[in-house]
């Protein structure tokens, strides 16, 4: 059941982050001096081009012709009917080129890299979606591309590894630490500091040092801007609730941001509860972590009492991250958004349900959002609506699912 019925806080004149990248006490710029100059350079370039009509026109054209935007909103009638509550709508980011929302951001950052004169792109990836989206834009712009990926994730997500290689990227296996997304991020930062002159680092989520959380958000808000307009066109009003899964939180903030000042819209971020919050084997820093500093920003983290980052657990590689974008930490603290969690088995059930009832195979990440939306819709009336960000398609996950169910492909 949805965890609380408390009314979410009203927010007006929302204008964060501040100049130095702070969302209240969160965010900021926590990196070694060796990276400061590159980050200053990026900050200046971003501030300049995000107001440059030529840059924005090129971005818009690419989003339209190359990514296939706008992505539609789909009324999941059978799922809504079966659920027996509010009407469930899906924002179809799974229909984007490369199959997820990730490309909204990589297109934007790659155009920026090109204008900054960088010839080499690096990225970290967990599930491989961001890696594929990065390799894709690098191929298109003729830029060298190196993707860091935890050795364990390479095992889990071999189809995406092959995709990246087909696209001409070099995939580097990261064997340090827990060999997952956080370690890939560490390794990408080490590469960046070593090759600072010609290299642009495309971070895939709304984490990292300022300006990344704000910049990645800005590139992803296309999701929320379109959704707002589409829901009004389709239903005559705004949705009553919006739901998105949260790993680092880029698809979620992309949906949430344009709705922050809409008091009538409740916002729900869904973290991965893994085997259950109470077991400790989860990836839910907002639900069960505490604030600290990692990867360049202050935010909620999963760490032990000594501040060492602990291993996370989720059936979905894309949610398997011990931190979360700092803006989510702030939205949680001020009570504007509610952060909840969904367990592996609940997400798997939602995966099958959406596939069978609507003919849409969702990514395991997005299945967490679908699972929560169904729970939430049940508590609402049929004249209300819930909009879910279907952030990616599930083709990449069929091997994982088959394996879990003991099926050999």
């Amino acid at each position: 059941m949805p965890t609380s019925k408390t009314k979410q806080a009203k927010v007006t004149d929302y204008n964060l982050p501040d100049e130095r990248g702070h969302f209240g006490p969160y965010g900021g710029l926590f990196v070694a001096e060796t990276l400061m100059e590159s980050i200053e350079e990026l900050k200046e370039a971003y501030a300049k081009y995000i107001q440059d009509p030529n840059f924005l026109a090129e971005l818009d054209a690419d989003l339209h012709d190359y990514v296939g935007r706008p992505s539609p909103i789909y009324h999941a009638e059978r799922l809504s009917h079966e659920t027996g509550g509010a009407q469930i709508y899906l924002k179809r980011e799974d229909l984007n080129h490369t199959g997820a929302h990730k490309i909204n951001n990589t297109i934007g950052q790659a155009l920026l890299a090109k204008r900054m004169g960088k010839t080499r792109i690096i990225a970290e990836t967990g599930a491989g979606q961001h890696g594929v989206a990065t390799a894709t834009v690098a191929a298109r712009l003729g830029l060298e591309c190196v993707v860091y990926m935890g050795a364990e994730d390479i095992q889990r997500q071999s189809p995406n590894v092959y995709r990246m290689k087909l696209l001409g990227a070099k995939v580097v296996a990261v064997t340090s630490g827990s060999q997952t997304l956080k370690d890939a991020l560490n390794e990408a930062l080490r590469d960046w500091v070593t090759n600072i002159d010609n290299t642009y680092y495309i971070i895939g989520t709304v984490a990292g040092p300022h300006p990344y959380p704000a910049m990645v958000r800005d590139f992803q808000t296309i999701i929320g801007r379109e959704s707002r307009e589409q829901m009004i066109n389709k239903t005559g009003r705004l949705p009553d609730a919006i739901v998105a899964c949260v790993g680092g939180g880029s698809n979620a903030i992309g949906l949430f941001y344009p709705f922050i000042e809409d008091e009538s819209v409740s916002i729900y971020g869904v973290e991965a509860a893994g085997l259950g919050i109470e077991t400790g084997h989860h990836s839910a820093p907002l639900c069960a972590g505490k604030p600290g500093v990692l990867h360049g920003n202050r935010t909620y983290l999963m760490a032990d009492v000594n501040g060492e980052i602990i291993e996370t657990n989720s059936v979905s590689a894309g949610l398997d991250y011990p931190g979360v974008g700092p803006e989510h930490s702030w939205l949680k603290d001020i009570g504007r958004a509610e952060y909840v969690s969904i367990k592996d088995d609940e997400a798997l059930e939602a995966f099958h349900r959406l596939t069978r009832v609507e003919g849409i195979i969702p990514a395991l990440e997005s299945s967490h959002a679908v699972a929560y939306a169904v729970k939430l819709a049940k508590t609402m009336s049929p004249d209300q609506s819930v909009l879910v960000n279907l952030s990616g398609r599930g083709d990449k996950d069929i091997f994982t699912i088959a394996k879990l169910e003991g099926i050999e492909l």
Binding site: R20, G28, L29, F30, V31, A32, E33, T34, M36, E37, S38, S176, G177, K182, D183, N186, L189, R190, V193, T194, N195, I196, D197, K290, P291, G292, V293, L294, H295, G296, R298, L301, A303, V305, N306, G307, E308, I309, I310
Partner: protein, 270 residues
Amino acid sequence: MSRLDECFKSLQLSHQKALIPFITAGDPNADFTLSCMHQMVDAGASMIELGVPFSDPMADGEVIQQASERALANGMSLKGVIDIVKSFRKTNQKTPVILMGYLNPIEFMGYEVFSKAASEAGVDGVLTVDIPPEESADLIEAYARYDIAPIFLLSPTSNESRIKKVSAVAKGYIYYVSLKGVTGAGHLELEHVEQKIRQIKQLTSLPIAVGFGVKNADIAAKIAKIGDGVVVGSALINCITDYVGDERQGQQAISDLLNDMRNAMDSAIQ
């Protein structure tokens, strides 16, 4: 006068440069670290940088990453590092000790609690890799209450305004990162280091220690001619991993390397 300032002053009087070994605390265990600290002083170390292991050491190369992993696997923590310093101070009140690590363990302990405990144990300075001056106000305030010197990095890419920003808040010394990269990386270009240090010296009167990529006595001697101190880390940790299971041999190798560096540095500037 603080232990750090006194140390640099007395080095100056004896026409020597600071030799600053770095080892990761708890690699492979706390007892080794403690006895190694004393031996390093005997081998000519002027002060000691003690690495606080962290699960996500973003600015470190493979050698120090693995040292961190070994130390954490053996249960080392920020509190454990402070305890090592406390033990060291029982017989050595003279040699400055600087902790070097990442911010999160300090965040979790709390700035005030950490500063008090570190100061009482005899820590003289703290270098936190992932906190630039812009985010440091609260931390520096806490350090000031307990006479801990905030040590900051400067790098080849630090421009004049950054050098000024860092110099305005740094105490003890400035740690100059000699190359673009992570600890233990590639090779450093002395000419560039010299140029940059000349620029930094025009903007601050703090001593400048140079680290990252100092692999042997020859490089140490050349650095001694241009900076006020030489930091050596990965090369020492390699001595430990070269003799896994034989801690005495590892310690001996560390002492030998430091001895060589001390002699080479001293003859280079005499």
